[in-house]
Amino acid sequence: MTDTHYDRAPGDASALPDVEQGTSSGVLVYTIGLALAVTLTAMSFWVANTSLLWAGGVSLGLTVLAIAQMGVHLVFFLHVTTGPDNTNNVMGLAFGVLIVALVVVGSLLIMADLNDNMMPAADLMNLQMQH
């Protein structure tokens, strides 16, 4: 029976009888997620405070760590998978991520551009930035 079937509610672990998960394996999934999340968080705090890394790359590194941790939360805590019963959840999520990226990247780009183009003198720019 691999034809059309029900979706899975977001946040629900797999409910198929053939891969029925006992409580202990459910606990294992959450514990792996917690361990990964703690590791990534600790790495973020280390990256932000260390002087061993090239300072210019720290922001990028922090962003990558945050994306990784978001992935860990989605997979281990919210049970988002690539399975066919999860397609609608993933599509919704993908749309949300698209809008978030448009809003954040678009705002930053436009405002940076505005600051570059509209303010001819540096002190005028300071004036604008401080009010």
Binding site: M1, D3, T4, H5, Y6, D7, R8, A9, P10, G11, D12, L16, P17, D18, T23, G26, V27, V29, Y30, T31, G33, L34, A37, V38, T41, S44, F45, V47, A48, N49, A55, V58, S59, L62, T63, L65, A66, Q69, M70, H73, L74, F77, L78, N88, N89, G92, L93, F95, G96, I99, V100, V103, V104, G106, S107, L108, M111, M129, Q130, H131
Partner: protein
Amino acid sequence: MNIIVAVDDEVRHEARPSAVEAGPATKRIVVGYGFWIFLLSDIVMFAAIFAAYAVLIHATAGGPGGLQLFNQRSVAIETGCLLASSYTCGLMSLAISSRRYAVTYLAALIIFVLGAAFLALEVREFAGMIAVGAGPQRSAFLSAFFMLVGCHGLHVTAGLVWLAVMMAQVAIKGFRATVERRLLCFSLFWHALDIVWVWLFTVVYLMGVLS
């Protein structure tokens, strides 16, 4: 084909009927999906506030910036509280699906205490900032900061109230289908808040103290 496969097939067929013969999806799926959409729209709202913060991050108007104001130790503890409560929330949903009242109450209590500890730390941080004259009216940067972090804090507060209400419902009504659906939505909400916090501590507190 042997008997085991046949039986297995039958069981699966029963539990997972095709959409044509099964009709519309169960209410748990519909409710969960609707709440999923709401959470995504909530996160889009957070994205707008994040964008405002990122745009205004240097607009300190001569006032204090993140480097002078943020205390990483307290942020680390707050992060730990939220992460642990998210983990406990996962364990609570396991306890709910296996109908264990005592474990559910215990997990809810731990979630509540950790969430309240998070809020207490945040309120202490806000009060400390306002005490040194770095309130939301000091600069555009601080307005954006209080808006962003405060909005997340309000969400956590709402989550705690919701959790308390849900425990009252479990105590009075037991694990009914409606109560279970609301608990599913609560755990989605709580995990989503943790994802927002991941971006918050990265963008605001960690990137904010980079020179």
